[in-house]
């Protein structure tokens, strides 16, 4: 079986600044993988390289065995990898339903069509509704996205990400800035929405990470210093020294 994602010796530098220094990471299909690390470690850059926002300086990224490094984001997305953003990145002037509907379009073969009425595409409406229901946004379907409360905007961010039915989902700090109860709801949503899919998540909340992840990678200064199960990471002296400190004890 091919792995969902294989990252080999991936490097990225901006001018003289080396942000990603030879990352190697293999994520099998169906795994929930968390990437943790201190601020500025390069976690978001790693996501940007994998999702196509930046082109790698060198190294390779393979999605289901196919090289995607340096591809345009929309081509990577069409191959089944979808991502969310750390800052809500939604279509602000459109309603929640329209936001999700845009996310659904390509997967249902709508292309750039201008000869079909979007309202009479039954499969589009049904999938949109299903995603909205899944993400607990169905009551707010006709609210303009810009008027949503913060936690709902984050949920919408996830809804747009999963709407296209991608098999590999990248979530960039989905619970950032949330209260405890909001975080619990978000985690429940993530678990439900990524069932049977490959999930890669960047997260600062250690409680979320240790609950959700099958395996964890620790990224420090653009390198992965350790990868393993939550148990292994918790007990890895190198990790504790480099980054986690007493946080791990608290989270456990």
């Amino acid at each position: 079986m091919t792995n969902a994602l294989e990252i080999t010796d991936l490097r990225k530098s901006f001018g003289p600044a080396q942000i990603i220094n030879g990352v190697n990471l293999t994520i099998p299909r169906g795994e929930r993988h968390a990437v943790i690390g201190p601020n500025g470690a390069g976690k978001s850059t790693l996501f940007n390289l994998v999702s196509g926002l930046f082109a790698p300086s060198s190294g390779s990224v393979r999605l289901n065995g196919e090289e995607i490094g340096g591809m345009k984001p929309f081509l990577i997305n069409r191959r089944g990898l979808s991502r969310s953003f750390q800052v809500s990145n939604i279509f602000a002037k459109m309603t929640v339903r329209e936001n999700v509907r845009c996310g659904v379009l390509h997967s249902l073969g709508q292309g750039y069509s201008f000869w079909r009425n979007i309202g009479s595409q039954r499969d589009v409406q049904e999938k949109t509704s299903a995603v909205l229901e899944h993400c607990g946004l169905i009551d707010k379907a006709n609210t303009p996205a810009a008027l949503l409360p913060y936690a709902d905007q984050r949920a919408l961010e996830i809804a747009i990400t999963i709407a296209g039915g991608a098999e590999v989902i990248l979530l960039d700090e989905p619970t950032a800035g949330m209260s405890h109860s909001e975080t619990d709801r978000a985690v429940a949503l993530i678990e439900k929405a990524t069932e049977g899919k490959t999930l890669i998540i960047v997260e600062h909340d250690m409680g979320v990470v240790f609950n959700l992840a099958d395996r964890i990678s620790v990224l420090v200064y653009g390198e992965i210093v350790a990868t393993g199960t939550p148990e292994q990471i918790r007990n890895d002296p190198k990790v504790r020294e480099a980054y986690l400190g007493e946080d791990v004890e608290d989270a456990a």
């Binding site: 979808s82 953003f85 939604i90 279509f91 201008f114 079909r116 009425n117 006709n142």
Partner: protein, 421 residues
């Protein structure tokens, strides 16, 4: 799980909401267009309405870019003009009647030629210019407009130089029994195409591409991550906008029977921007209102005052600064407060605002009219309501300063009441 299943139709607006929100306004517009001739409008009125029809289609096509796709173009008249030139050339082919295709082509169908010409121009010019968005796109559109305007005086066989290209609309086969000669016949032609254009552009907003266009306007980055190329979206929308602009050009070719290089210049490009923005780019109907008002101002106000462009400028700046939603924003805002506010207070505030705007405008009008006459130096005097307002008359200055100051004071007071912070 079974009882969780949603009735998915629930999410979409109900059939009656769709009818009242979408179909009814278009039916009313079509009805109005059909009823107008039975009210016996004058020839001047007919000519005005015909120009309005052209401008409605042109302004709506502009808003496909600005309002719906977030693309600010300073050169939209290029596609209007090129479409129009194609149509007027086709008109001469119809007149010549040498090719069987054109000999059997009705003048009534010329907007289709304009549509094709505008789409082709959009497809060629849009290919490089849609690779950029935002400010670079606006700059490129300005450059293209200058380029085509300059070409207008160079390529004489197509643009006809300063004389332009002229034709005669009373040739070829007749459609619907319209000889296309009298202005009343032209009205029915305009009526058909303005409704067709409006329907076409409204339908476009309801398609997947139309929705992706809005998504690209809101957040081009995210569009990339839902599997679409924003550059491709912009390019396709650009072609469609060019096509409808060309259609307006084709309507114009039939109306005036002549096209000159001025039609591709920056002046109509600026005018269409103002029409769309004054009308309200956030609403589909906005450019329609803008086109109606500005066409009216252009033809009527210019009879009363030579300073009408100055008033147009003041209107445009006021809309940009104080009512960015445009006329449509004002209308829908008033309708909203009328429905949700307390009638008494709402009426009081509207009255106050109307009085404030009226007073400030009165002061401004006196200033503009007195100074244009003074500056012309013909000794002409502004004499409203029998008053003799010369430049040196102290009363003149009282009538400028007092209403203007009073109007501004009222408006400031009202806005402070509304927002006590």
């Amino acid at each position: 799980m079974t009882d969780m299943t949603q009735d998915y139709a629930d999410l979409a607006p109900s059939a009656s909401a769709k009818f009242y929100g979408r179909i009814l306004p278009i039916l009313l517009f079509a009805l109005l267009v059909v009823v107008i001739p039975f009210l016996g409008p004058s020839r001047t009125m007919y000519s005005l309405l015909n120009v309005m029809a052209i401008n409605i289609v042109f302004a709506l096509s502009y808003n496909m870019l600005l309002g719906r796709c977030g693309l600010l173009s300073f050169g939209h008249a290029v596609y209007y003009g090129l479409g129009g030139y194609c149509a007027v050339h086709a008109m001469t082919f119809i007149e010549a009647g040498t090719s069987p295709f054109w000999a059997n082509f009705p003048v009534f169908g010329l907007p289709l030629v304009g549509f094709a010409g505008g789409a082709l121009a959009g497809a060629i010019i849009g290919w490089p210019s849609c690779r950029r968005a935002g400010t670079p796109f606006a700059m490129i559109s300005l450059g293209v407009a200058e380029l085509i305007a300059a070409a207008g005086f160079m390529f004489l066989s197509f643009f006809g130089g300063e004389m332009g290209v002229s034709g005669d609309r009373m040739n070829g086969p007749q459609l619907f029994g319209l000889s296309m000669g009298p202005v009343e016949d032209v009205y029915w032609f305009m009526a058909f195409w303005v409704v067709a254009g409006l329907l076409g552009m409204y339908a476009f907003t309801r398609t997947p591409l139309g929705k992706l266009s809005e998504a690209t306007r809101d957040n081009p980055q995210r569009v990339q991550f839902i599997g679409y190329d924003p550059t491709r979206v912009r390019y396709l929308v650009f072609i469609a906008a060019g096509a409808f602009a060309g259609m307006a050009g084709g309507m114009s070719a039939v109306n005036y029977e002549i096209f000159t290089p001025e039609a591709v210049s920056l002046i109509p490009s600026g005018f269409v921007l103002i029409m769309a923005y004054v009308g309200g780019i956030g609403y589909f109907v906005g450019p329609v209102l803008g086109a109606v008002l500005l066409t009216f101002m252009q033809s009527m106000l210019s009879d009363y005052t030579e300073a009408w462009l100055l008033y147009l400028g003041v209107l445009f700046i006021s809309i940009v600064m104080f009512a960015p939603g445009g006329l449509a924003g004002i209308v829908f805002g008033l309708a909203h407060t009328a429905r949700h506010g307390e009638t008494g207070t709402v009426l009081k505030r509207w009255g106050g605002q109307a009085a404030g705007i009226g007073l400030a405008l009165a002061g401004l009008i006196v200033l503009v009219e007195v100074s244009t006459r003074w500056s012309n130096g013909y000794g002409e005097v502004f004499e409203p309501f029998g008053l003799h307002l010369t430049f040196t008359n102290p009363l003149t200055w009282v009538l400028i300063v007092v209403p203007f100051a009073a109007g501004v004071a009222i408006l400031r007071r009202l806005s402070r009441e509304e927002d006590p912070a």
